[in-house]
Subunit: 249 residues, 2 copies
């Protein structure tokens, strides 16, 4: 850590220690599910959760494993991947703090339908499925909040389906960059820096294309001054131009 870092990305350890017991309650209150709850209700809910840390690249669970937990991202980014036997994979979602993943189905006899991996160093809170479901039944407002989040996810999944079949790779990537910018973008000297490690392969998996094609598109964007990018990082320098790419001819 004493060497000069050339990545503009924030070093992971800076924030890692912050995920202490003390601030878990605060984090939990920031999760959309628990918006309207009083502190005295939040407290026992908090006790149901347990926290754990993951290093960048470390798997959290695998597709097909027996699914027993529901998880919430507290710090860092988590990617959800589906893969074929031949190893071809696609990224189904990239989660930021406050988002949930895992399983919330009735019984514990389901399996996870995707693999979850820590994209950066991450802190995750987990709760047993059964426990969470009893929360849902106890507090309708939580159920409704979870439903709203899930509905939004469904909508964006359907938009993605639409894009996959109607847009060119170039437009799809431009659109994805815009979304990531809204989610992970942070002001920096190189532009809106996406605060997570993001390789060409990740982008390709998000866009449903090959690494090579993603690289070609990104090279072009960089050439045209829309982005600045290095190894595993991307910064958006001209978001309006990206929007134009999506909606052009």
């Amino acid at each position: 850590m004493s060497q000069k870092r050339t990545t503009p990305l924030e070093a992971p350890s800076i924030r890692k220690h912050q995920c202490t017991v003390d601030i878990r309650l605060e984090k939990l209150g920031m999760v959309p599910f628990f918006w309207n709850l009083d502190r005295e209700i939040l407290q026992p809910i908090n006790n149901e959760f347990s926290a754990s840390h993951f290093h960048a690249g470390q798997p959290i669970y695998y597709e097909g494993e027996k699914a027993t937990m529901l998880r919430v991202v507290v710090y860092g980014a988590v990617k959800l991947i589906r893969q074929t036997e031949e190893g071809k994979e696609i990224m189904v979602d990239m989660l930021k703090p406050g988002e949930y993943f895992g399983n919330l189905n009735e019984l514990g006899d389901d399996t996870y339908s995707e693999t979850a991996t820590a994209q950066s160093d991450a802190c995750i809170m987990s709760i047993g499925n059964r426990e969470f479901r009893s929360l849902l039944n106890m507090y309708p407002s939580i159920a409704v909040a979870v439903l709203d989040v899930t509905t939004k996810k469904l909508n964006s999944a359907r938009q993605q389906i639409h894009h996959l079949t109607t847009l060119s790779v170039k437009k799809r990537i431009a659109h994805i960059l815009k979304e990531l910018c809204g989610k992970f973008g942070e002001e920096s000297k190189v532009g809106m820096l996406l605060q997570l490690p993001l390789s060409r392969k990740d982008l390709a998996d998000l866009a449903g294309t090959s690494t090579e094609t993603a690289s070609r598109v990104m090279s072009r964007f960089q050439q045209d001054g829309l982005i600045t990018s290095g190894r595993q990082w991307v910064a958006i320098t001209d978001i309006n131009a990206l929007s134009e790419v999506v909606s052009s001819n």
Copy 2:
């Protein structure tokens, strides 16, 4: 109606009259949302809904319209479509009786994110968004049931994304036929007949391909004896062979 019909599909008017006030309550009880509810609770809920009929091909609402209602299919099939300005479209879902669609978001200021069209003659029950949301808050079990349905939809949307990027058109269509078979298949002399009008274009929109390619694939399937098909109808004759197509090499 006195002429001989050559379509194996059931004539729409046969069942249409069945959607009377008398049996609405029964239908409502069949909707997954309302599984566990007592009859005395169901009764007032039923009163909140209003029913209406649509002819095959008739639009129910358009993408972008102000979204105020949540709807449930009582009889018939409803397709959900998203389209680009140039008219290229994709089918996001095909719904059967008991499934919900429309909007369930917080306030009435959202717009529908897809166009809903009656695929066959259909009977639809509607409820105001606000009213439904208060039901959700009143009966947690409804909220949880809706959440479960939505979660399943999300999962299948994500599977579709996966298929779009990893499977060939042939496999995608084979898979779609299998799903439709489970949902709309009815035993008949020509095999498992899909009990809804289904054109090559519909299939193409479902698979995210062109009408011509869908036609070519279907011709091939018919040639190989996997299906029997005519104008706007499809029957599956060998579902095992279809499964093999999906999982082959």
